[in-house]
């Protein structure tokens, strides 16, 4: 995969991870309310767990697409203004 495409796909994956984190917190449900059981868990817990499973897969893919060079190509990033 070309470097540019790889970086774009990685950015999309990390964006999706951010969205999944937002969805994992049940802010869209009535606080303190009872929830039906889904997959053996309260439904809001099942949603959160599903989100974290997806985060694991997407984040692992993002790491495999990440360039971690052992030589510093952009040295001025540190120290110069």
């Amino acid at each position: 995969m070309r470097v540019g495409v790889r970086r774009r796909v990685r950015a999309i994956l990390l964006g999706a991870v951010g969205v999944l984190y937002l969805v994992s917190i049940p802010w869209y449900r009535a606080p303190g309310s009872e929830a039906p059981i889904a997959f053996g868990l309260p439904s809001w817990v099942a949603v959160a767990l599903g989100c974290y499973l997806a985060v694991a897969v997407l984040n692992a893919a993002a790491w495999l697409l990440t360039d971690v060079p052992d030589e510093s190509a952009d040295e001025p990033d540190a120290g110069e203004s």
């Binding site: 606080p31 303190g32 974290y52 893919a61 971690v68 052992d70 040295e75 990033d77 540190a78 203004s81």
Partner: protein, 486 residues
């Protein structure tokens, strides 16, 4: 043979094995340099690096504190799986930029980056010292938590034959021996073995608990019968705390000195990214399991107090051991796995603490490297001090200790994450930001306002810290010399 005698025998065999690993690592050391002692000559491969990251990340806090917190809070503690995963997500901000600099400039401690990044700037030395002090306080707190957890575990696995106090002293001495003899190499190898023990043990315990409860749905129903509110959608403040904890742990954990040093210690960038790709799944096999363990304790042990709740995992293991001899052996394996995980975190913390104090606090901006010997002596002194503290202060909740250290550690975030991505950040504004953020966090802790609307005071402090550091840097008249080596 009783459960306690079996546990004591297993503990002795385990400690002898650790001593053997330390001696082997000592014989294989290449030289007495700081890089060899603290970073294993920067030669950790995927398997060892992954397991050492894993065993270091999942500590006494995770194995005793998280089940305790799941017991106290109920299903909302599913957030722990999310925030442990957020650490590996947040490493994306740090690793691709820091790693190449670390290789090129031979960084050993976190302060080496600060020294390099702000070289020649007014206030750079004070900034490095402030970062080192905050990190040292966080690490000392972390070490204290591990020692406390080690003592508890040793007392339980031996059924009281080894008391809490004796456990703390003997295990702390053991860590000192193998860390001093073998450095990062011994720590990483023992971490690897300890990581495997922990994985297998937790998988076995989690399976037993689910089978014994009659499945996940039966477990949820039994929790609802005993404590209905544990299954309800969390209140708004709890949800704000959920988001705040993801930010707090995600950002603060990646600047743990021992985490940064593992980024330095990897063999190459490819090894590092593969290790992180594997690590992202570990909250599902560890944090989720310990959360289920804490939840399974709700219907089994009603009415445990705040501090007692940290003992739910050992209590469950005790019940497991009573089922039969095979289960007793399995329970001891889990006990040892947990103890091993706690020791592996303590040894990593101690190693980092020694190097941090020797190199970042006691060395000047242009001084010679302090070397491994001073680091070892400082580490030994701190260990002795923390052993005394652990024996005097047993009644503190582990989660309370985690939050305390994270509130302080997160104030170092701009000096690493912003400095890596924004050239404009200057030393004095960054120092002012740390001062403001830390003052807010400490005031919140002192005046018992640890959370505002569920948001951690340290996260609020970080926002003020970032604002001061960035705005003041923009306004700063200082511009580095373009001929400067950095």
């Amino acid at each position: 043979m009783s459960f306690g005698e079996l546990g004591t025998g297993a503990l002795i065999v385990y400690l002898i094995g650790l001593a053997g690993v330390a001696e082997l690592a000592r014989r294989l050391r290449r030289d007495g340099s700081a890089s060899d002692h603290f970073l294993a000559s920067r030669d950790l491969g995927v398997f060892v690096l992954f397991l050492t990251l894993y065993a270091t990340a999942y500590s006494g806090n995770s194995l005793l504190g998280y089940p305790g917190e799941a017991y106290r809070r109920g299903f909302s503690w599913i957030m722990a799986t999310g925030f442990m995963m957020s650490i590996i997500v947040c490493f994306h901000i740090l690793v691709p930029k820091l790693r190449p600099l670390a290789v090129r400039h031979r960084f050993v401690t976190p302060g080496d980056f600060v020294r390099f990044r702000f070289a020649g700037e007014p206030g750079a030395d004070a900034l490095r010292a402030a970062v080192a002090v905050l990190m040292a306080v966080a690490l000392a707190n972390f070490l204290f938590a591990q020692l406390k957890a080690m003592g508890e575990m040793a007392e339980l696995v031996t059924d009281g034959i080894v008391t809490y106090e004796l456990g703390v002293v003997v295990l702390a001495a053991m860590i000192l021996v193998y860390e001093t003899l073998g450095g990062m190499r011994a720590v990483a190898w023992t971490d690897a073995a300890q990581g495997v023990l922990m994985l297998v043990g937790l998988a076995a315990l989690g399976t037993w608990l689910l089978v014994a409860a009659g499945g996940l749905e039966a477990l949820t129903t039994s929790i609802r019968d005993v404590r209905e509110e544990a299954t309800f959608v969390p209140l708004a403040t709890e949800q704000a705390n959920w988001a705040s904890t993801i930010v707090l742990l995600g950002l603060a954990s990646i600047i743990y000195p021992q985490a940064i040093q593992r980024v330095y210690a990897a063999r190459d960038g490819r090894t590092l990214k593969r290790s992180f790709a594997l690590m992202t799944f570990m909250p599902l096999t560890t944090t989720l399991v310990v959360t289920l363990i804490g939840l399974a304790a709700i219907p089994r042990f009603a009415g445990l107090g705040e501090v007692e709740a940290d003992r739910v995992m050992p209590l469950l293991l005790g019940e497991w051991a009573e089922v039969g001899p095979l289960y007793a052996a399995a329970a001891i394996a889990v006990f040892l796995g947990a103890l091993a995980a706690i020791m592996s975190t303590a040894d990593s913390v101690l190693l980092s603490l020694g190097s941090l104090l020797a190199d970042d606090l006691l060395r000047g901006s242009d001084g010679q490297a302090a070397g491994a010997d001073l680091g070892k002596k400082i580490a030994a002194g701190i260990m002795v001090a923390m052993v005394v503290v652990a024996m005097a202060a047993r009644d503190v909740t582990l989660w309370g200790l985690i939050e305390l250290k994270m509130e302080l550690l997160i104030q170092c975030v701009p000096v690493f994450l912003v400095a890596l991505h924004w050239r404009g950040l200057r030393a004095r504004p960054a120092l002012a930001g740390i001062a403001v953020g830390t003052a807010i966090a400490v005031a919140g802790l002192v005046f018992d306002a640890k959370r505002i609307g569920g948001v951690h005071i340290g996260v609020i402090g970080l926002c003020a810290n970032l604002a001061v550091a960035c705005v003041a840097s923009r306004l700063s008249a200082y511009r580095p010399d373009s001929r400067s080596p950095v």
